[in-house]
Amino acid sequence: MLATKQSASMEITGMDEQRLSSLRPGDRATIGRVEGSGPVRRRLLELGLTPGTPITLVRLAPLRDPMEIRVRGYQLCVRRAEAEAVWVQAEVTVPAPDVAVPVPALAGAGGAPRPLLRLFRPR
């Protein structure tokens, strides 16, 4: 097989594949595949949204579009239209023994980030 070592040895257990655009703020998921072809898809991959990568949907913009996701330790905003093409598993994958799934910096044991002012709790 010509696939990469990572995706070859990665077993995906989550059954319910859904679109990135259907996630809600705070949801964590793993990238399954990016649909389509062409430069947008290529760029999504090059920005690190490769299969098996854990992501978190951080928040939606005030008008609910675009959305902010955390991937590979940085924040990226994506319009809903582009997020439609990204399929994710809302459940965590089981990593192969030699390739541990990196934990994004902010989704660690610290739990939900402390709000600056209690009043402004996000949705």
Partner: protein, 703 residues
Amino acid sequence: MTVLTPTGRPPQEGVRRVALAGNPNSGKTTLFNALTGLRQKVANYPGVTVDKKVGAIRLGDREIEVLDLPGAYSLDARSPDEEVSRDILLGRRADTPPPDLVLAVVDASNLERNLYLPLQIADLGLPVVIVLNMMDVAERHGLKVDAAALAKELGLPVVPAVAPRGRGVAELHALLEEGIVATPAIRRDLLSPDAEAAIEGLARTVGAVRGLDEPVAQAQATALLTGIDLAPEPAVAEALEHAQARFQAVDLDATDVLVEARYAWLTRVQQRAVQRAEEIPPTLTERIDQVVTHRFWGLLVFLGLMALVFQAIMSWATGPMDAIDGAVTGLKELLQAHIPAGDLRALLTDGVVAGVGGVAIFIPQIAILFLFIGLLEDSGYMARAAFMMDRVMRGVGLHGRSFIPLLSSFACAIPGIMATRTIENRKDRLVTILVAPLMSCSARLPVYALMIAAFIPARRVWGIFTLPALTLLAMYVTGFLAAMGMAWLFKRTLLKAETPTFLMELPPYRRPSLKSVGLFVWSQVQMFLKRAGTVILAISICLWALTTYPKNPSPDPGEQLRTSFAGRVGRMLEPVIRPLGFDWKIGIGLIGATAAREVFVSTLATVYSVGTDDEAKAEQTLREQIRNDVDPRTGRKVWTPLVAVSLLVYFVLALQCMSTIAVVRRETNGWKWPLFQLAYMTALAYTGSLIVYQTGRWLGWGV
């Protein structure tokens, strides 16, 4: 000690040209400033509107040229910035030779994605040194980056740095002085044996055709397969097709496989070189964002900041602008005192000095707007503003980043148009430039004020408003709606773009570097003076000549203007502008206003031969004069409230600003777009006024 060049040959004498490459927000520019200080120049790459920043490092008796490449995420270019970076690294730009060495700046707190680009560059066979920037930020995020381990994993030299504090600069200087030990390019991606075989097959051809060592050939094979077009030779192209077919045979895309393999490897590198703290405190960025991008508070903060920017351009600039005005007047008086009256004096005072003043008058607003843009961009807020406004701007097919240039255009379209550089997509940027002058700028205000004061009755409306205030508001709203409508139209017709995309990083907040912001403001002002200033000066001298010649012996300046070329053109124009309700005197005013809209008022004052000794009194007199002006042929008043409204609409929609034309020419690299803009806005203004005046007459309003 050899340094490998793209062709695998060692360069003649050490490192002479260095390029800084890296993702946007990696602190590249701050490092560039730290390395070169004031020994830098900002220019434009020929043919594209991408800033070219070149600096120099002096090492003993040697000088090394440093090129700050535009920010890029990948060499598979998606924006003009990325195209320029790619082409320079590939040695494809005739104006910029490829570097001997690339300093790849990476954000230590965001290693995986930041390392993707340096690996692509290494694949081209260029020697790469990793500058591990923002070590302090990484530490605050609970990340411990082991530079030595990273260097071992990557097989590339790694220099840790904190650019704002100059950490790492001495090490980089030393490294450049000594030169670096060649690090042969190695292909590092984690691939299955079949994929390896496919790449090796291609690499053999690449190596044979280009005369490269195996590791460099393998790296270049990867570059070829990931679509970074190397303009392959026929034999290589054939081998490339063959390799791609091998991937396709098992239903895989070569690029996908290679991108994934590279990230898989980068994940492993990161695991070996970076230690994460058990307890990671929520970052300051996250806490600020909870407020600043909040549905309600975020919008409030945004509106507050925009109000501040707007207020600053409108009011902070007044002092310096008055000072420039005063200096210009002083200079004029000085010339008048020392040069005998005559054509030369008039040319110098009314043509040259007035033109220089017309250029200089924009500096305060440009400097203030770019000060804010620099601060907002450097701190990371700009991306949040775009994030919040994207949905709004998308309604007319634009991008979140178009918002600030359009808002600034309410003060003045010149800095607004210059600010469109933050928009990556060429078509989005062009549409924003095309509609920006429709936003009512401050130069229209004197015209609005004169018309409203003279013709709009100060009647109360709904108790709390007055008719003049509502009229003024209506002008701003009309301009805004016209801008949105035209943007919508352009995006659907002329500048129809492929699928709109919006993939933008929200960088961590950081304290803006005053040095960087200062240098940014300075470079913008400098570029405005150099590129637009000359055109503005030339046009203002032409306009002076048009209003001065042929000479009229009459001592009355009004008579002189009426018989000048401009006056004649104004008269010739009358049949054309009659349907809008304008007579030849307004025609002359409109010609004067092509220099700048506010000149309309003073031109009109000259036409009506109003003395200009006391400004307040002059305006009062002018108001009386135009109210009472009677057309000798018809015996009817020349000016009616309807004419005033028609003229107001004309001023809202028309492009009467040579400085805007000059800046658009400079920003779009040619005359095509500014002339198109002039044509469409004039047509829009003419049609708008025509509809207003004719409908008004038909309904018997304000006649």
